[in-house]
Point group: C2
C-alpha cells in the first residue's frame, strides 16, 4: 500500500506538472507538448527529483505513447494516404530521404557506429502528425490544399519512419546480417499489409465486430483490446509496440462508428499522453547540455533537421508554387513525439547513449518551438498566392466526406 | 522492449478475457462484473497462467479500482446523502452494524486474531454501489422510493465501511494502541470532512478551477489530477487510496460540468476497471476452494453475509411496509467490489491469509449472483404494494433536480 501510494504520488506530481506546463505553453502561444516535456525535466531527476523512473512510471509512459499513436491512427484515414496523391507522396518521401541522409551523413562524419547512425537518421525523419495538425487546426488551415498535403505527407513519412524504425530496431538487436534485415522488412511489410488491408476489409464487410450493439455499446473497448493485441504482437515480431498501436488505430478508425470512438479515445489519451511526454522530459540530462560540445552538436543536428526537412518537402511541393511549397516545407519541420520515441527506443535498447538522446530531444523541442510563430504569415501568403493562380485554393464542388474534409484528388 | 511487449501481452489477454466474460454474463442475465472476475480466474495462475501478478499488472489493477471509486464518487451526490433522510440512514447503519457484528462474531467463534476478525467483518459490511445501482438501472427502478433508499443507504454504508476499513488498516499496521486508533479515526474524519465540505464549497464558490475554459476545456484532467492527489494523500495518512479517490469523485462531481465529466470518465473507467476485476479473479486460489473446510467456511460466511445484511436493511426500512422493506433488504445484499477491495487490501498487507481471501471473494461473487434473479419480482411487488398505500410510490409534484432524480425528502 505504501508503495502504491508512492507511485500514485509520483503520477500525481507528473500529471499536475505536465498540465501546468501545458497551460503555460498554450498561453504563450507555443505547442503544449513542449510545456509537458519541460515539466518532466523540472520534476524529474534532473532538477527536483520528485518523479523517478521505475517499472510503474515506465509502463504509464509506454501506455501513453501507445495510446497516442493509436489515437493518431484512428484520426488517420487510409484513403487520405491515397487521395492526396503524388504531391503528398513526393513531399513525404523527399521529406524522409533528405533528413535520413543528413542524419546518417553527420553520424558518418562524426565516426559513429552504423547502429548509432541509423538511429540518429531515423530520429530526424518523421514529422509529428500530432503537432503539425494541432497547429494547423488552430489556424483553421487543415482543409486548405497545403493543409491536406501536409497531413497526407506527414502520414506517409510516419509510415516510412516506422519502417526505418523497424529496420533500426532489428539492427540494434544484433541482426546485422542483411538477410535477416531483409526478412524483418518483409515481415514488417507483410504484417502491416495484412493488418491494414485485411483489417479494414473485415471491418468494411462485417461491421458486427465493432458496432454490433449486442457485443459492445461502442467500438471503444474492442478498439483498445485490438490496440493492446497488435501492440504486443508487433513487439513480439520485432517491431516497436507503437507501430502495432498505430496500425490498430488505422484499422479501427475505418469503422462506421469512428466519431463515437474518437470521443471516447480522447479522454483516455488525454489522461495518459502527459505521462509519456513528462517521462521523456524526465530522461533529459541537463548537466549533459551544459557541455559546449553537446551544445554544438544540438546546433548542428537541429540545423540539419530543419534544412533537410524543409528542402525535401519544398522540392516535393514546388509544383504548387513557391508560396505553398514554403508553407508546406515549414509545416513539415516539427519533429515532436516521433523523433523522441525513436531516440527513446534507441536509448532504451542501448543503441544510442544519453548524450545523443539529449541532443535529439533538444532538436525535437527546438524544431517544434520555431515553427508555430512563422506559420500564420506563411498561411496568409499561400492563400493570397493561390487566389491569383488557377487551380489553387479550396476546389469548389468537391464532395465533402463524413469528416467534412474535402475529398479532392486534384493535387 | 521485450518486457514491455510481455506486459502489453498480459494486459491484452486479461482485457480480452474480461470483456468476453462480461459479454457472456450480460447475455445470461448475470452481473457482468462476475464474468470479469471469473475470466481473471481462468487466464490467471489458477488455471491457464497466461496472466501473472507483477508490479505492472498490480498498478493497472490499482488504477482500475481507484478510477472505479472515483467514478462512483462522481455519480454520488452529496445532497443525496442528506435528502434520502432517516430511512436511508437507518438502512445504511443497520445494514453495516449487523454484518460487522456477524463477521466479527464468526471470527471470534473460529478463534481468529483481532485483526483477522476486523478485516472479515469489514469485508462483510459494504453493499456494492456499482452492482446495486447497475441492476436497478436495468430494471428502471432507480427513481422509485425503494431505489432512492437503496442508493442512499448504499452510499452511507460505503462511507461507514470506509471508516471501518481505515480502522482495520490502522490495526493491521500494528497500531493496536486505542489512542492511535482514535487519532486515526479523527484524522480520517477530519480529512474526509475537510475534503468534502471544503472541496465542495470551493467548487461552489469559485467554479473557475474546474470550468474556466482558459484552464481546461472540460473538468476531466483537473478531476483526475485531484483524484491522483487525494488518492496519494489518503494513502499517505493511512487510509486506503480508494477512499481519497471516492472523495475526489464526490468533490469533483459537485461541479456544474458534471455531465461532461461523467462522459469522459466513463471510457477511462471502462478501460481500466476490467484490469481490477480480472486481477481480483487471478488471485483466487481454486485449489484452496477444493478443500471441504474452506467450502464450509464459504457457506457459513455467505449465509451470515446475506442474513445480516438483509435483516439489518429490512428492519431499517420496515416503516415503508413489508414489500418495500423486502426489496430494499434484498437489494442491499450484493457485496461486489468493496468487499473484495477490503479483502484484497487485507491480503496485500498480510492481515488475512489466502484461504480467507478466497472465502471472501467467493462470498462476494455468491451474494452478487443470487440477488439479480429475484429483483424484478420484488420490484413489481413493491410497486403494487406502494400503489395501495398512502405516501408510497413516486411523489407527484416533487421537483426534479438536474439529474432528473426526484428531490424527495419525504421518506
Amino acid at each position: 500500500m505504501d508503495h502504491i501510494g508512492d507511485v500514485l504520488g509520483q503520477l500525481f506530481i507528473l500529471l499536475l506538472a505536465a498540465k501546468i506546463g501545458d497551460e503555460i505553453f498554450k498561453r504563450i502561444g507555443q505547442p503544449p507538448v513542449v510545456g509537458e516535456i519541460l515539466a518532466g525535466v523540472i520534476v524529474g531527476p534532473a532538477v527536483l527529483g520528485w518523479y523517478q523512473i521505475n517499472a510503474e512510471t515506465m509502463l504509464f509512459a509506454e501506455i501513453g505513447v501507445v495510446l497516442l499513436l493509436f489515437q493518431v491512427g484512428v484520426e488517420t484515414r487510409l484513403h487520405d494516404l491515397v487521395r492526396v496523391g503524388p504531391t503528398a507522396l513526393a513531399v513525404g518521401a523527399l521529406g524522409v530521404i533528405l533528413p535520413f541522409a543528413g542524419g546518417f551523413g553527420l553520424a558518418e562524419i562524426l565516426g559513429s557506429p552504423l547502429v548509432v547512425a541509423v538511429f540518429l537518421a531515423a530520429a530526424l525523419t518523421a514529422t509529428s502528425v500530432g503537432i503539425t495538425s494541432g497547429v494547423l487546426r488552430d489556424l483553421g488551415a487543415l482543409r486548405t490544399r497545403s493543409g491536406r498535403v501536409i497531413l497526407g505527407a506527414a502520414v506517409i513519412d510516419d509510415v516510412l519512419a516506422m519502417l526505418i524504425l523497424a529496420f533500426a530496431s532489428g539492427l540494434a538487436a544484433g541482426s546485422v546480417s542483411l538477410d535477416r534485415i531483409a526478412l524483418l522488412v518483409v515481415v514488417a511489410v507483410v504484417f502491416i499489409g495484412i493488418v491494414l488491408v485485411g483489417g479494414t476489409r473485415i471491418l468494411a464487410r462485417r461491421r458486427s465486430i465493432l458496432t454490433d450493439p449486442k457485443f459492445a455499446e461502442t467500438p471503444f473497448l474492442p478498439g483498445v483490446i485490438i490496440m493492446l493485441g497488435l501492440a504486443a504482437l508487433s513487439s513480439l515480431i520485432g517491431l516497436a509496440a507503437i507501430i502495432g498501436a498505430f496500425l490498430a488505430g488505422m484499422v479501427v478508425g475505418e469503422s462506421s462508428e469512428r466519431h463515437a470512438l474518437e470521443s471516447e479515445v480522447a479522454p483516455v489519451a488525454a489522461f495518459f499522453t502527459p505521462f509519456f511526454f513528462g517521462f521523456i522530459g524526465a530522461q533529459v540530462d541537463l548537466a549533459g547540455l551544459a557541455n559546449v560540445g553537446t551544445l554544438a552538436l544540438v546546433g548542428g543536428v537541429t540545423l540539419i533537421a530543419v534544412a533537410t526537412k524543409f528542402i525535401g518537402a519544398f522540392v516535393g511541393a514546388i509544383r504548387l508554387g513557391r508560396a505553398e511549397a514554403t508553407l508546406i516545407g515549414w509545416g513539415m519541420v516539427p519533429r515532436g513525439e516521433v523523433g523522441i520515441v525513436v531516440a527513446g527506443l534507441g536509448l532504451q535498447i542501448g543503441a544510442i547513449d544519453g548524450q545523443l538522446y539529449t541532443v535529439v530531444v533538444a532538436m525535437a523541442i527546438l524544431t517544434t518551438l520555431i515553427v508555430p510563430p512563422l506559420l500564420p504569415a506563411l498561411v496568409r501568403h499561400a492563400e493570397r498566392d493561390s487566389e491569383r493562380m488557377p487551380g489553387g485554393g479550396p476546389t469548389p464542388g468537391v464532395e465533402d466526406d463524413d469528416d467534412g474534409r474535402r475529398a479532392d484528388t486534384s493535387v
